[in-house]
Symmetry: C2
Subunit: 194 residues, 2 copies
């Protein structure tokens, strides 16, 4: 069956979204046919609203629709939790375990993909370290996340500020049997006294 | 974390798409923040293009951007394959096993959800049966699909037209062990001579 041109074009747009392949994109495009005129208009307005209103917080780099985000305005900033992406802020906030401020790097160091410290939101982090007691590096526990943590520690520790890293070990509710070797050896090496 | 208003609004739009829940919709909405101005504009144009140009074929009810769809214009119509939805046409076309014309009902009979013959695209099917040898009912092998098939057979057979149903049985490549009881008993009951 020859595909309808406008459907293919819309499917191409949908397939720019994360995790959307060709088949899903086509399914979405066909669903738009069934939408009302008002729904499609509303969709367009919403798309443009996001593009126009959402920017990065000038202090921490998280998403916001103001100059400075809610979290920066309301939280004490003596503890700063450094994460790679805005979605990591959302994950930590959901846990409710942290009540300090955040800083979003928008990536991690990666010599392989050519991401150097200049590509990350590090300058603005250094600019806000006055009066900060502790910087918690909450990047992912992978090679790039670890490299970023080590880099930040070397940069910040000489300023007399404590730099910490989120703990690594066995996840809550997981089974030893299925844990990978590196995680297991980390969990053993960093065992704590009961 | 308080959610950004325009992000929530866009996520609500995305969650109207089939199979998109709240979490996926939010992920899509945040992805739009990273898109360029041009990409978002292109998205809007594509959405409106689909809404403006795609309609249902006046003969068979399938999606088209013309008055009559490609399949209706190019295929012989002595055999008509009746399906519930446009996506079923796409599935059969992909198999390459049918070279006749189609008719899309836009649903199946369902007394439970109040879908009667008047709600389906049946009138236009009756109007195109002149010179037709065979009507193949390719609705899904479930209660509603079967009911629709029986209804159509009662309606069309008296006109001297052959009405057939797609075969039911064990799927190619599947394992007997995992087949459900109804499918197995159908496969046994309709066994063919080797």
């Amino acid at each position: 069956m020859k595909e309808i041109k406008s459907i293919s074009a819309l499917a191409a747009c949908f397939s720019q979204l994360p995790g959307v392949g060709r088949k899903t994109a086509l399914r979405y495009a066909y669903a738009v046919v069934d939408m009302s005129e008002e729904q499609v208009d509303g969709f367009c307005v919403a798309l443009n609203d996001v593009k126009d209103s959402v920017r990065f917080c000038s202090v921490c780099g998280n998403f916001t629709d103001a100059e400075v985000c809610d979290l920066c305005r309301t939280r004490k900033s003596d503890k700063i939790c450094v994460v790679a992406y805005p979605k990591d802020v959302a994950a930590i906030e959901k846990s409710g375990a942290f009540d300090g401020a955040y800083h979003v790097l928008h990536g991690t160091l990666s010599p392989m993909s050519g991401r150097t410290p200049d590509d990350l939101n590090i300058k603005s982090l250094m600019a806000r370290l006055d009066g900060v007691d502790e910087v918690i590096v909450a990047t992912n526990p992978d090679v790039e996340g670890e490299a970023t943590a080590v880099y930040l520690a070397r940069l910040i520790k000489p300023m007399g500020i404590k730099v910490t890293r989120i703990a690594q070990g066995i996840s809550m509710g997981s089974e030893l049997e299925y844990a990978d070797a590196v995680t297991l050896s980390q969990a053993l090496g960093r065992r704590t006294l009961l």
